[in-house]
Amino acid sequence: MTETILINIALVILFLPLLGFAATINLGAKIKKMYYFEIFIITATLILTIIAAFFKLSDFVNTQIGSSFTWIAFDTVKIDLGIKIDNITVIMLFVVNLISFLVHLFSLEYMKGDKRFNRYFAYLGIFTFSMLGIVLTDNLLMMYIFWELVGLSSYLLIGFWFEKKSASDAGKKAFLTNRIGDIGMFLGILILFANYNTFNFDVIYSQINLGILPFDSTVWLTAAGILLFMGAVGKSAQFPLHVWLPDAMEGPTPVSALIHAATMVAAGVYLCLRLFVMLTSDAMLVIAVVGAFTSFLAATIALTQTDIKRVLAYSTVSQLGYMIMSIGIGAYAFAFFHLVTHAFFKACLFLGSGSVIHAMHHSQELEDLGGLRKKMPVTYLTFLISTLAISGIPLTSGFLSKDGILAGTLAFGELTGHWLIPILGFTVALLTAFYMFRLLILTFHGKPGNQEKYNHAHESKWVMAFPLVLLSMLSIFIFYTPNPISAESGWFLDKWISTPETVVPESTRFEFMKSSDSELVDANFVHSKLYEETMHHVHYPAMILSVLLGGIGILFAFLFYQWKKINVDKLTNSIRPLYNLSKNKWYLDEIYNATFINGTLALSKIISWFDQYIVDGIVNGTAKITKIYSTYIKWIDTYIVDGLVNLTAILSGIIGLALRKLQTGKVQTYIVYVILSLLILLIVFKPV
């Protein structure tokens, strides 16, 4: 296995799904069973990914492999496209392809009987292609290209059942909201390209490292970082652009699992990971605050939602906020770790909910559900394991990653004094455990909400059950580290993922990230010794606190919903405003509707009116004035100019009558006139 082979495999992995898309979309109308081709493609992709990941993580674990070609070149501009394979890349490849594969399998049963079955698989194909492009790219432009392409596939899949107005609305909303973030990202890219004349990450970073700043100012560097982060705000559904993700649940549930939980929404986090080294302390603080606030906001909303998928959607937003926050506080490795573990358990949760929805004939309101534990044991068990993982209960993967992040926030608070972030972080841990168990209890425990549907419910077929089992297995700690309470010693964090050294000027770094504080340990770069030590130092307090909070959350969930020791209705009545705030998603949709959307529409109407009546009015007015003017001119023409003409005519008539006498009708007379006149002319114009 050489590097070239690895690169070629990566390229094959990238383009196979595109082939699947192209073939399925074009032949799907003719060939009924075309979707098998897409399944075959994704299977092949997965196998190749496992091979590539295995070799990368064993043979080339400390090398970075890449290759590029010139796409566009003119004058001094040269735009290269290329791929870059490092450890993050192959792990992401594996995550994306595995979940994509499982979702393909799951969809076989879930989407059965849909009239656009082939097209659905084709869309999954193009999504996989675009997502792999984001993962593999080594430059910002290609990142942006695939960024937009996942946006497209997300648009198509959310609006897959476009007959429903809510579905097509949601697709449009997702695309447009993402576009807002993309504009920021695009501006960030422009800033970097205008200064470094390249899109390549590594080249840009080496330039920054040499002290060459955009427009020679650290402000612009911060601006570039925050603008690029805006792309992540859109894609990873961070406040204030998070509103699209809950609506995106209009799409088929397997799609929600694949795109809106596990992979695409994590692309924002992935982007931040790639950008990590060029983030200044200001940019990082912004990112941390946005992430922390988003996770809190989403968690509070998730408390009261009654739609099984919406609860999961808000929990996704909340967890994504965690990851973003984690990057903001410098816990690079844990951000990525949480991305991976979250991808598995959240995909499992979504597919589990899909299994429930499928069994209950597309009923997804919590009040219709309940008591399904006995009817659907496999689904219940896998759902339980994933719920434990997301709640951060020991022995699960979620515990490991979440714990790391919380320790990071504590360390951050201790080192910088921003205590708000750890406080929000721990509150969210409590809330997460509570609402997740609320969901679990209301779905699987208690009494059936809708007896008729309940009676028809049954456990899903193996194509749907198998992905659940596999994904819940991956939510157990053993896949990541042998030590169930600390991930640091596991292969995942110890061998594969290491925090890169930041390249921004010293003056714009956090105190604890100064280069004097870094050192090289076992070929792995430790970006901040102080930070590491502080994290170790707060590790156990953080762990104990988070487990405690998780436990409290679970306990309250049981008290509220299982044992009904506390009357929920009474409680909600006593805090009605808060409840309404949460239930109505902090009224953000309404606010956006009233301001931005209606504002834009009103503005467009005003401008259109302006165009029609003012700009065009001036044009038509000019025409009208010309017309009026011309009628006056016509009057003058008729009575004065033409009058003169007529006068002339009358005069000439009179003269003519007089002259008529001269007309003898004889040729001779005329000849005389002619010749005399000629003679006069000759004499008058005689040359001297």
Binding site: T664, G665, V667, Q668, I671, V672, I675
Partner: protein, 103 residues
Amino acid sequence: MAQVGLNHFLIVSALLFSFGLFAVVTRKNAVMVLMGIELILNASNINFIAFSKFGNFAIDGQVIALFVIVLAAAEAAIALAIVLNIYKVFSNVNVDEIDNLKE
């Protein structure tokens, strides 16, 4: 009397032209009118040839004169044919009576 030069020829031609015009204007008989026209044409021919000798036209004047003669011949033929036709219709060739153009 000065040395015979251009002017002498021109004066001859002018007089001839006037006579011709006089014939055209005054005579009733169409054939006489035709003769007047012949005089006018000859007058112009004299001018052409005189200018050919004294002016800047070299031999070209003579060529034009030649063409005028040919035209005159053609004109005479046609004109006489017309006169014959007029005679057939009006039984005379007096131009002062043939004034249908009037009114």
